[in-house]
């Protein structure tokens, strides 16, 4: 394996990890506030569909982004209404949203575009363009640094850079601001926040708004990458992001490394369709299943004890 191959795999890793990272951060905000968000998958799908639809109609991926974020936000607010306002079960509400998204995107897609649930394929100028950072072409032929800069660091879409920036920003918000302190507190012990005279409901909704926006970005990224919406295109990325969140122990920087690991596995699976070891050939299906296998391993608790926010999953009811 030569240097360029490694760079190319890493480049592909970043590309594939971007939607996971955004989704993982979305889950991080939501769960840190004590709202378990199994509906990430549904939000991704809804956002991808609306982004694909809007971009194909208007020809602008930025309008697609607006539509995707709006769709994801709407789903987030339904989740909030059910599980915060009406104190329903967060898991059930999330699962319901996933089903709703899976069905609705296809039905509405068929009704709008008559393409069997797909949206029309997006032309290049209706997708996110690659951002070439300064001197990218000039440096391309410099040994070692050239490929690194040209291939890996430069040449991603705006959303990728935004996702990477969202990591330190999330950390700063969570650990350095009043809002972050209250958000973390409400996920640990909402009654402490309530008795301190701060609204639990408002904080949790704020967290869901952030989660909705981040998920909307992730969904739009998927639609742009695949040049349009296809049925079930999120392919379990919402659940993988949740697994990464557990792996990351609900921390932003760990979330970055966790999602990069998943991205790397997916990149390897895509590049090496089959590996031959002596007489034995590892089948392509196994390589492509790698991220999902890791998900199972993480969820089975093989990676050490992860302590979730203590009030996660329980609606806040004032005690007498």
């Amino acid at each position: 394996m030569d240097y360029l191959t490694i760079i190319q795999i890493l480049d592909s890793t970043v590309r594939l990890a971007t939607p996971l990272l955004l989704t993982c951060l979305a889950g991080l905000f939501s769960e840190r506030a004590g709202v378990v968000d199994i509906g990430l998958e549904g939000k991704l799908l809804a956002a991808a569909f609306l982004a694909g639809a809007a971009a194909s109609v208007t020809g602008s991926i930025w309008i697609g982004l607006l539509a995707g974020v709006a769709g994801s936000l709407a789903f987030s607010m339904i989740h909030g209404l059910a599980s915060i306002t009406f104190k329903g079960d967060q898991l059930i509400s999330g699962v319901a949203l996933n089903f709703l998204a899976a069905g609705l995107t296809v039905v509405v897609g068929q009704s709008w575009f008559k393409l069997g649930g797909r949206t029309p394929s997006l032309p290049t100028d209706a997708r996110f363009g690659e951002w070439n950072l300064p001197f990218s072409d000039a440096l391309a032929n410099v040994p070692f640094i050239g490929p690194l800069y040209h291939e890996l660091i430069s040449g991603h879409t705006a959303l990728t850079y935004m996702a990477l920036l969202a990591v330190p920003l999330s950390w700063w918000v969570l650990y350095r601001t009043r809002f972050g302190l209250r958000l973390r507190a409400v996920g640990e012990n909402p009654s402490a926040v309530d008795t301190a005279g701060v609204s639990v409901v408002r904080l949790r909704f704020a967290a869901l708004v952030i989660a909705g926006v981040l998920c909307g970005m992730a969904g739009t990224y998927l639609a742009s990458l695949a040049a349009g919406f296809v049925k079930d295109m999120s392919a379990g990325r919402g659940y993988i992001a949740l697994a990464a969140l557990i792996f990351a122990k609900w921390r932003p920087w760990y979330a970055l490394s966790a999602t990069m690991l998943f991205g790397l596995l997916e990149a390897i699976g895509n590049r090496y369709q089959s590996i031959t070891m002596g007489d034995f050939t590892i089948p392509v299906q196994f390589m492509q299943a790698l991220p999902y296998i890791l998900t199972v391993i993480i969820l089975a608790g093989f990676v050490g004890k992860a302590i979730p926010p203590r009030a996660g999953g329980t609606p806040y009811v004032k005690e007498r």
Binding site: T177, L181, E188, N189, T195, R320
Partner: protein, 536 residues
């Protein structure tokens, strides 16, 4: 006070000093009423608390103390009545308004974020701006001043979960002071403290009082009322039955006001006549599910016709000891009942086989382990004994009529009110629930009765009855192992007292030859015999 001016947060709803009468009471409630459906939790309650005093509110569980305080702290809105703070009427719609009015509340179950530091907990909800850094710095200096002033020292950077319960409580008090509270409400503050910690708390409260703070102490412990309050109000069934100067009253009078009839505050019992050795425990170790050793090699024995009381602060291994004896926790070591060894692990170590050997168990937590709250009384009355032949109609069906008849009889005998076998367990008051569990376990005529926290959350009238039943069982020649965190209860019921600390027995004492002070020290882990130090 300098601290006040520096704290910076201006109380918005609080009346300004210039308009209020100088000697206005700190708090005045007028005609407060609150109903939850058909239940009248507070009925026309009026109360006046003078500034700079400690005012006790005492009453049984369900008397309406907590509801009243929740109204004062903005959790509920009163149906009728007004609240006056420093002479001015205020509307308290939520906790924020209560805080602004200068009210600080220390809840029975602390409202702290366990994995936050002390500083973070103190500023939570009272930050100065969008960024944390300045708030944290300010809180650090202020905390230092407050801790010097009131003996409230805590490490500002410690995580709450690493602090002892006593220190966590100090953080709660600091939280209130940081928000410039000058009225401090404490709800059952000593329930979780060792006697030494409770004494320290009272010294802190004295200090706060000297600085002109007003303190409201809610408790069901008569001793605390007598020790620290200036005035005391008694509540019974949602009504305020009396407000008196503490100096003019006695514990007996207060108990009578609380219950509505004369109550025996100490247990009447004859000296014990211990017989044969019933229970022997040798070198018992218990390791819990997390791998923590909870019981670290204890030796105990209980004879027929005696009550062995085990005291200690909650969480020092008493629970695990009861669980092993009751058969639902594994242990290592030797336990003999009537001279025969019993299994501590494996299939012969469960509640069923323990009961078959003559061990009855009244668990510490009647809601989780003693009862199924959604089941009716008669169903609860047979749990653990449902295999008994007298309750089987044939191979498949149980004889429900027989169980109900037995329940009816037991309920009458143990004065369970209302004596209705078909009522769900959750519909009974704490005291009556405990009587159901007690009846179930005592009526099976065990050789050994394990009983944990027999009167936790039980009102005074029922406490008296439960204590009598325990003494009767002893007089009938049974062995009783009593675990309680209430020192009063241990001292008045036990024939021998063993103190548990950190999974070990610190020592045994006879109730006639010890006192709360000595037991308190042992409960805090201070070695029993230390002649060298005692002499200095």
């Amino acid at each position: 006070m300098s601290v006040q001016s520096e704290a910076g947060r201006q109380a918005t709803a609080a009346p300004t000093a210039s308009t209020a009468p100088i000697d206005a009471p700190a708090i005045e409630l007028r005609g407060i009423s609150k109903a939850f459906g058909p239940v009248q939790a507070n009925k026309d309650i009026s109360i006046t608390v003078k500034k700079g005093t400690v005012h006790g509110i005492i009453g049984e569980n369900g008397a309406g103390k907590s509801t009243l305080m929740s109204i004062l702290y903005g959790f509920y809105k009163a149906d009728a009545g007004t609240i006056h703070i420093k002479g001015q009427e205020v509307q308290i719609a939520d906790s924020q308004a209560a805080i602004s009015a200068g009210i600080g509340m220390v809840f029975q179950h602390f409202k702290l974020v366990e994995n936050f530091t002390v500083l973070e907990n103190v500023i939570l909800g009272a930050e100065d701006g969008g960024l944390l850094k300045p708030s944290l710095a300010k809180a650090r200096t202020l905390l230092k001043q407050l801790s010097d002033e009131y003996q409230l020292s805590v490490d500002p950077d410690a995580l709450i979960e690493d602090l002892s319960v006593g220190h966590q409580q100090r953080v709660e008090i600091l939280k209130a002071l940081y928000r410039q509270a000058d009225i401090l409400i404490l709800d059952e503050p000593t329930g979780v403290l060792t006697p030494a910690e409770a004494d320290h708390l009272f010294r802190i409260l004295e200090g706060l009082k000297e600085q002109g703070k007003t303190i409201i102490l809610i408790t069901h412990k008569l001793r605390e009322i007598m020790e620290i309050t200036d005035t005391v109000s008694v509540m019974r069934r949602g009504e305020m039955t009396a407000t008196v100067q503490t100096a003019d009253t006695t514990p007996e009078d207060l108990a009578e006001l609380m219950v509505g009839r004369k109550v025996l505050l100490h247990v009447e019992k004859k000296p014990a006549t211990p017989g044969a050795q019933i229970l022997e425990i040798e070198n018992l170790h218990v390791v819990d599910e997390q791998g923590v050793e909870r019981v670290k090699g204890i030796d105990l024995h209980v004879r027929a016709g005696e009550i062995l009381g085990i005291c200690g602060v909650a969480g020092n291994g008493q629970t695990e000891l009861l669980e092993v004896l009751g058969g639902y926790q594994n242990g290592t070591g030797t336990i003999r009942l009537n001279g025969e060894e019993i299994d501590l692990t494996g299939k012969n170590s469960d509640g069923q086989s323990r009961r078959a050997r003559g061990i009855s168990h009244v668990p510490e937590d009647r809601h989780d382990e003693g009862l199924i709250l959604n089941f009716q009384a008669w169903e609860n009355m047979v749990f653990g004994y449902h295999h008994a032949p007298e309750y089987q109609k044939n191979r498949f069906l149980m004889d429900n009529a027989a169980i109900k008849a037995m329940t009816q009889e037991s309920m009458t005998k143990f004065d369970v009110r209302p004596p209705n076998p078909k009522l769900e367990a959750k519909s009974f008051s704490g005291g009556n629930q405990q009587k159901i569990v007690l009846a179930r376990e005592i009526e099976r005529n065990p050789d050994l009765l394990l009983i944990g926290q027999p009167t936790r959350g039980v009102d005074i009238g029922a406490i008296e009855f439960i204590h009598q039943q325990i003494v009767h069982l002893r007089d009938a020649g049974k062995a009783i192992l009593l675990v309680s965190v209430e020192l009063d209860e241990i001292l008045s019921l036990s024939d021998r007292i063993a103190v548990m600390f950190d999974g070990k027995i610190m020592g045994e004492r006879l109730p006639s030859e010890t006192n709360e002070g000595e037991l308190g020290l042992m409960m805090a882990g201070i070695a029993e015999e230390n002649p060298g130090e005692a002499g200095q």
